[in-house]
C-alpha cells in the first residue's frame, strides 16, 4: 500500500481514538510483569510501607512503565507499521497521532516520577526516571536499531522495577535488590531468544538487527545457553540472602534444573532437528521461562509472607 492510498483510506473513514487506544499505548501486558516484580520487590524488603502509599507507589511504577511504552511506540512507529505483529498498534493503525503518544508519554513520565518522589522517596523516583530514560533513549532510540544485543540492554529496563519496589520500602539499594535486578536482566536474553528461534519475525525487514538474522541461529543457540549459566548462579545466590529461604531455594533448584535442561537442549540441537519436530524444544523452553520468573518471584513473596507470619 502506498502512502497516498493510506491517506485516502484514512480521510474517507476517520477513526476516533477511544480511551482503549490510549491505554494500548501503555503496553498493558508488559505492565503486568512490571507491577508483579515491583510489588514483590516492595513486599520482600525489610521495613513497612503504608498500604495506601504502597498502592500509589506500584501505580506510579506501572504508569512510568506505561509512559516508556508510549514513548517507545512514538519513536518506533515506522518499525511498527512494517511488521505484522505491530501494524495494528494505535499509531500505525491511524487511530492515534504520533504527537499524541509523545505528549502522553512525556506527561505520564513526569506525573509518575514526581508523584512517586512525593509519595515515597527520591531514590525510588530517580530509579523510575532512569528506567524510563534507559528504555526510551538508550534502548529504543540508540541501541535497538544499532546492535543485535539490543534485547540484552533493553532487558535492563525491565529489570529495574523490583529494585524500585525495594527502594520504595527501604529508601536504598542493597545486594538483594541488585540480585533481583540481575535475575530479570539475565533471564530476558534466553527467554527472548528461545522465542526468536521459533517465531518467524519480520524485524529484519523493518531494519532492526536481531541475533537470529545477523549472526545466525547457531550463534543464537549458543547465546541462549551462555546467558542461562550466569542466570542460574544469580537465581541460586538470591536464595542465600536474607530474603531467600528453603522454599525459595527448593523452587530455584527445580526451576533452574528445568530451564537449564531446556537451554542445553536448544544449544545441542541443529536447525534441521528443530525443523523436524516443529521447534518443540524451543517452544517448551520458552514456556518454562515464563513459569521460571513467576515461580522465583512468587517464592520470594511466600518467604516474605512466612517471615511476616513469624514462621
Amino acid at each position: 500500500m502506498s502512502d497516498l492510498s493510506l491517506h485516502e483510506t484514512v480521510s474517507e473513514t476517520p477513526v476516533e481514538a477511544q480511551l482503549g487506544d490510549y491505554f494500548a499505548l501503555l503496553k498493558p501486558r508488559v505492565m503486568t510483569l512490571v507491577v508483579f516484580t515491583a510489588l514483590v520487590g516492595m513486599i520482600v524488603a525489610p521495613g513497612s510501607v503504608h498500604p495506601f502509599i504502597g498502592f500509589v507507589a506500584i501505580l506510579c511504577i506501572a504508569v512510568g512503565g506505561g509512559a516508556s511504552g508510549a514513548l517507545n511506540m512514538w519513536w518506533d512507529a515506522d518499525i511498527d507499521a512494517r511488521m505484522r505483529r505491530t501494524a495494528k498498534r494505535p499509531i500505525p493503525g491511524g487511530r492515534v497521532e504520533a504527537g499524541e503518544a509523545l505528549a502522553l508519554g512525556l506527561a505520564l513520565s513526569g506525573f509518575s516520577v514526581v508523584l512517586l518522589g512525593l509519595a515515597t522517596n527520591f531514590l525510588a523516583a530517580g530509579l523510575l526516571a532512569f528506567t524510563i530514560f534507559f528504555y526510551v533513549v538508550i534502548y529504543s532510540i540508540w541501541l535497538k536499531r544499532a546492535t543485535p544485543q539490543n534485547i540484552v540492554i533493553g532487558g535492563a529496563a525491565g529489570a529495574f522495577p523490583p529494585m524500585i519496589g525495594w527502594a520504595v520500602a527501604t529508601g536504598g539499594i542493597s545486594v538483594e535488590s541488585v540480585l533481583m535486578f540481575l535475575l530479570v536482566f539475565m533471564w530476558t536474553p534466553p527467554h527472548f531468544w528461545a522465542l526468536a528461534l521459533f517465531v518467524k519475525s519480520d524485524y529484519g525487514d523493518a531494519g532492526v538487527p536481531m541475533l537470529t538474522e545477523t549472526h545466525g541461529r547457531r550463534a543464537t543457540r549458543n547465546h541462549v545457553l551462555a546467558y542461562c549459566l550466569p542466570l542460574v548462579v544469580v537465581a541460586l545466590g538470591l536464595g542465600v540472602t536474607p530474603i531467600g529461604g528453603w522454599i525459595y531455594l527448593a523452587t530455584a533448584v527445580v526451576m533452574n534444573i528445568w530451564f537449564l535442561k531446556g537451554c542445553y537442549e536448544i544449544w545441542r540441537r541443529t536447525e534441521a532437528q528443530a525443523e523436524a519436530d516443529n521447534y518443540k524444544v524451543e517452544i517448551r523452553t520458552f514456556k518454562i521461562s515464563l513459569y521460571y520468573l513467576f515461580a522465583h518471584f512468587g517464592a520470594l513473596w511466600i518467604e516474605a509472607a512466612l517471615r511476616w507470619g513469624g514462621l
Binding site: 476516533e16 481514538a17 477511544q18 480511551l19 503504608h50 495506601f52 502509599i53 500509589v56 501505580l59 508523584l115 512525593l118 509519595a119
Partner: protein, 66 residues
C-alpha cells in the same frame, strides 16, 4: 432557532470523556488519600503549626518557672 446544545462530537466522544473524568477523579482520590496518610504519619500535628506564620503559644518552649 433553537440552540442545539448537544453537538455530535459530544456523543462520539462520550466514552473517552467519561474515562478522562474518571481518571481525574482517581487522581483526586490519590492526592487526598496521600495527604491524609502523610498527615497521620506525622503524629504530632503541632509540627505543622511552625510553618503557617501564625503565633502559636502552645509551641513556644516552656520557660523555667522561677
Amino acid at each position: 432557532m433553537a440552540l442545539k446544545v448537544e453537538h455530535e462530537i459530544h456523543q462520539r466522544r462520550r466514552g473517552r470523556n467519561t474515562g478522562v473524568g474518571l481518571l481525574l477523579l482517581g487522581f483526586l482520590v490519590i492526592v487526598f488519600g496521600l495527604t491524609v496518610v502523610k498527615v497521620l504519619q506525622l503524629g504530632d500535628a503541632r509540627q505543622f503549626e511552625t510553618y503557617d506564620h501564625v503565633a502559636r503559644p502552645q509551641i513556644i518552649p516552656q520557660e523555667d518557672s522561677e
